[in-house]
Symmetry: C2
Subunit: 205 residues, 2 copies
């Protein structure tokens, strides 16, 4: 048995609940530091440990490296979107864009996502894992909504699903990018209604 | 007369051409530092001067503060888009998206724009001036193309110009965001053709 006492072991007050609470503190500390503008390169396990009030070993017990921790922290900002209620395709698409709108309302989230995008150029593995963990599951849900609409005839049978997704999501991000978090409440409806003009079946010419 | 010798005066080799060349070095040094991941907050006139090989006073003679210099540097990455050739609306829109595509091909440009977006949350005046200087002129050119199409009947007379712009530009940015600069060559055409399905006049139902 290893009898070496870790700094953490020494610092932890007796009886403090461990894993879950510590994990949440570590995630929050990571997001806080990113939100303050500290890039992934400058971010250190040491500074996260100190901010979270835990020892470095507590972090390393759960995450073997900084990038994995950052990905898990970022993913908490992009939880799975609510499963569509099976109403009209229009309703489900509006719900999807409203989730994006709500997320961009918070300055901290915008700062963190911007810095993550910025750093993903230098940390391709981070970008890759974030895509797998947070972007792709959402894409799959919205793609399924679009495919349902193609099946029921609400949408053109020859719709390009990936392109439709890019038009919707891209317009939402574009219109909120410079809005300082104050995009109009009906923006999701307006984008969906404009996009649907091209997504619906065309009457015979 | 002030006889105090500035560091710059001492350092400048005799006969070196001043204003224009120095200005270019200062802009390049600013972009280099941003491209290396140094945020606007950490960026100092001192570090720019040292990288550009000029004295601080040379910078202050032209820019009274750091934010103005950053805005001018960023604007060089988003020059005015080529005036539309007056072909079809489709051709002009493809040209516009191709400009965005070319710009995102360069890692340095992507890094710099990401860090600028990230910092604009903390430097709202920077975001505001960048919008005025680089974003708005482009928006006006593409809006004019869309309005021309509405006049000639190529596009629906009731098209929402701002929304159309957001769908086109947003989709382009969305589809290149995770592409590491390697978006397919025909992406501008594919986006424009998909978007035009909704922008063209609908046959009578």
């Amino acid at each position: 048995m290893n009898t070496q006492q870790t700094a953490e072991g020494a610092a932890r007050p007796a009886g403090r609940p461990r894993s879950e609470k510590a994990e949440r503190s570590i995630i929050e500390a990571t997001l806080d530091l990113l939100g303050e503008g500290i890039g992934v390169s400058e971010l250190s396990i040491e500074s996260i440990a100190s901010r979270a009030g835990v020892g470095k070993t507590t972090i390393y017990r759960r995450w073997s490296n900084k990038e994995d921790l950052v990905v898990d922290a970022l993913a908490t900002l992009k939880p799975p979107i609510p499963l569509p209620q099976g109403g009209t395709v229009r309703d489900d698409l509006v719900t999807y864009l409203r989730v994006i709108q709500e997320e961009t309302r918070h300055l901290r989230t915008r700062c963190i996502m911007n810095i993550a995008m910025s750093d993903s150029e230098r940390h391709p593995r981070l970008a890759e894992r974030f895509r797998e963990l947070a972007v792709e599951p959402r894409r799959a849900v919205v793609a399924a909504v679009l495919r349902r609409g193609m099946d029921t005839g609400e949408l053109r049978a020859d719709l390009d699903v990936d392109m439709a997704l890019a038009l919707l999501s891209g317009a939402m991000v574009w219109l909120t990018k410079w809005s300082d978090g104050h995009s109009p409440a009906d923006l999701p409806e307006r984008i969906v209604d404009e996009a649907l003009k091209g997504f619906r079946p065309r009457p015979a010419e």
